[in-house]
Symmetry: C2
Subunit: 420 residues, 2 copies
């Protein structure tokens, strides 16, 4: 009897706790930090569930579709939304992983944006994203430390015969001092642009915080647009160049917004897309670096220059860095994919003489996430192959998928290793 009463009490207490928790979660949910002003949805709950809501009064079917579906911190989806009598569609999804997650709202087959979220360059469009807080995410928060400056610099590129722009992070104190700084060239992924490392990656806050803590050397970071070949009408880059996957970001699963792209023109002797990726490398070496070195107070020797990138940008960083060993002593691949990798022949035989390579390259760094298996496996295997061949290389793993949260953590590990 006593025990039963206790049981009843505890059941009632449990129910009350559950209800209170549910109610508290409901009450404690907050608009995501990536919402546009005044948008109440999407909302993030304390347990990291996310509630989405959109208005589509006459629609038959509305879904939230994470991008990419595989390895997105929102889960695979798609998530069917439920309509109320006012024409609003709502869904609350299970607890998400921390980080910035891209997604589509799909309304009767139309894959587009959530009007409540900011749109970021990604997946070849300006796509919605929701930021889910990370309890360990202080390293990319705007904090009470000295802040560097990001400059938008226009310059003329002879290689591409066009005015282009670079985003340039200058560390705190640059403006008032006279010191010269080392430079990291840092590239985005396929379908993104030169603003992605600041907008999605929060590179400026990561560097501000690392520099304030004395964990990274003050450095300049240069970001340019790697989609040189991917202008309207240009053919898509090939999947593989010299053993490295260039187009690593999966294409959007939604129907293409460019239904009637002109048929590919006959293949030239040298594929146009390869020209495009080569053009990007030439542009970095012939136009961008000289402009940066003549505009800012940089250290101009290879020991003070690094190159890194994510996904497609990882391929570009390896391609440019490993074929210009005198120019870059630090090379970083964030979620790149190496295929048919051969320590003897890949990258023009850069690794053939391991001792010579190790003397020149201070850091060859491969990072990938547990939840993006093919990137993780390929990066781990490349590191092992290189290590066996006597080449010094580091493999770093995050718990994340093919998303920005992993690349923020990559930078957190990579940047402190530079220029030491």
């Amino acid at each position: 009897m006593k025990r039963l009463a206790f049981r009843r009490l505890s059941f009632a207490a449990l129910m009350l706790t559950v209800l209170a928790a549910a109610s508290a979660a409901q009450d404690a949910s907050r608009p995501a930090s990536t919402n546009v002003p005044n948008a109440e949805y999407p909302r993030v709950h304390p347990d990291l569930r996310v509630t989405f809501r959109v208005s589509a009064p006459e629609a038959k079917k509305v879904q939230i579709l994470p991008a990419p579906r595989v390895s997105n911190g929102l889960g695979d989806g798609p998530y069917d939304m439920v309509k109320d009598d006012k024409g609003f569609w709502t869904v609350t999804i299970p607890p998400a992983q921390p980080g910035l997650h891209n997604y589509y709202v799909v309304v009767d087959g139309f894959a587009s944006n959530d009007p409540g979220s900011e749109a970021f360059p990604g997946y070849g469009m300006h796509i919605s994203a929701v930021e889910v807080p990370d309890p360990k995410g202080d390293f990319y928060a705007v904090r009470g430390v000295p802040h560097g400056e990001v400059r938008i610099r226009w310059y003329f590129s002879k290689t591409t015969d066009a005015w282009r722009r670079a985003l340039v992070y200058l560390p705190p104190g640059y403006e008032k001092g006279a010191a010269r700084y080392p430079v990291l060239y840092l590239q985005h992924g396929s379908g993104e642009d030169e603003t992605s490392w600041t907008r999605q990656g929060r590179v400026n806050f990561i560097l501000d915080n690392l520099i304030a803590a004395g964990k990274a050397k003050p450095m300049i970071v240069v970001m340019e647009n790697g989609m040189v070949a991917a202008r309207p009408g240009a053919p898509k880059p090939p999947e593989k160049v010299q053993g490295i996957l260039l187009q690593a970001t999966p294409p959007p699963p939604a129907p293409s917004p460019s239904p009637s792209a002109p048929a590919a023109s006959p293949a030239p002797a040298k594929p146009a897309a390869l020209r495009g990726n080569e053009a990007f490398g030439d542009m970095v070496v012939d136009d961008l670096i000289p402009m940066i070195d003549s505009t800012f107070r940089t250290r101009t020797d290879g020991k003070n220059r690094a190159i890194a990138g994510l996904s497609m940008g990882a391929g570009q960083a390896c391609q440019i860095g490993l074929t210009h060993l005198d120019m870059f002593a630090y090379i970083g691949s964030f979620s790149g994919v190496l295929r048919d990798f051969d320590a003897q022949t890949s990258f023009g035989g850069a690794f053939k003489d391991a001792a010579a390579f190790n003397a020149k390259v201070k850091l060859l760094w491969f990072g990938a996430g547990k939840r993006e298996e093919r990137f993780s496996t390929a990066s781990k295997m490349a590191t092992e192959t290189l290590t066996k061949a006597g080449v010094k290389a580091i493999f770093f793993e995050t718990p994340f998928g093919h998303e920005w949260q992993g690349w923020r953590y990559d930078l957190l590990d990579f940047a402190p290793r530079l220029f030491k």
Copy 2:
């Protein structure tokens, strides 16, 4: 008989011409400059018709809806799209006005973005826009002239108790020289943000080109976020403060993406929204200007400081400028709306002593477009009222609506008048 043959010939020739023109227009259409990479649609024809196309296989009804509907250079719309057997919906609209035009794609009542277009901060969201070329638009093109630099500067604002960012245009030559420069504070409209004057307004190119031509003095331009009160949960600003409309941009016609915003809390003694707009003014005067003057090589007297803004920002510029006459000798209202305007009492009686006002304020400038009648009428009437009261004021009219093309032309007229 001869005449009939001639008629037949001319009719046939006419048809051929029409067909040839239509065919040429079809062939000569090009992806808009605002398209994301590889997006073939929207396309602009030589006669400025625009063809939109999106994929929405299961939708019942798809439309292009210009925003704002009244005075948008795309016309009023909405434009019904027609579905093909592959699920693509297409419409070609009549020749548009030149300029950057916001629009929604509305799919079964869901108003969102065109995946083919870039998204810009506007209408309280990140909204699609299409750029229609202007034959006289060289003044905002990126050209072969020296380019200034836009800097993204983070700073702490005591007024708002938060880290905030300003975008700062520095004229060509700033970096290498030692000169001090006058400063223009330039504000966006309601629902936009501190990036709008560079992204939509192309302020950096307009200044680069004017400075290169010797038509404007080299100056610094500072852009901040005027939506201080409009953060999630904050009440909306009141429509009218001291005779000036602050919320001048029409709200989006689409269903609100924030259906269940919390009910407004009981009105405090001093309305929270007024606090918000006052907070913006306080922030500019107490935090932003001191930060700018201590960070950059500025001229710090009122004769070397200007303030201007568009729509809601016009109200803010007038409110701040006209209540701080010692701080700003140049004041610009782009598409503002003055209501119940009184030369004796408005703005704390700033105009009461016309001679004193004219001695302090070198330029009071009102601009508006023919196609945004209530803004144009109000601005014209304010200028007339002031002129009658002995206050020097200028009215400038563009042929455009409540859109960025008008504000680009406003700046083209306004900037050369500054700091002379």
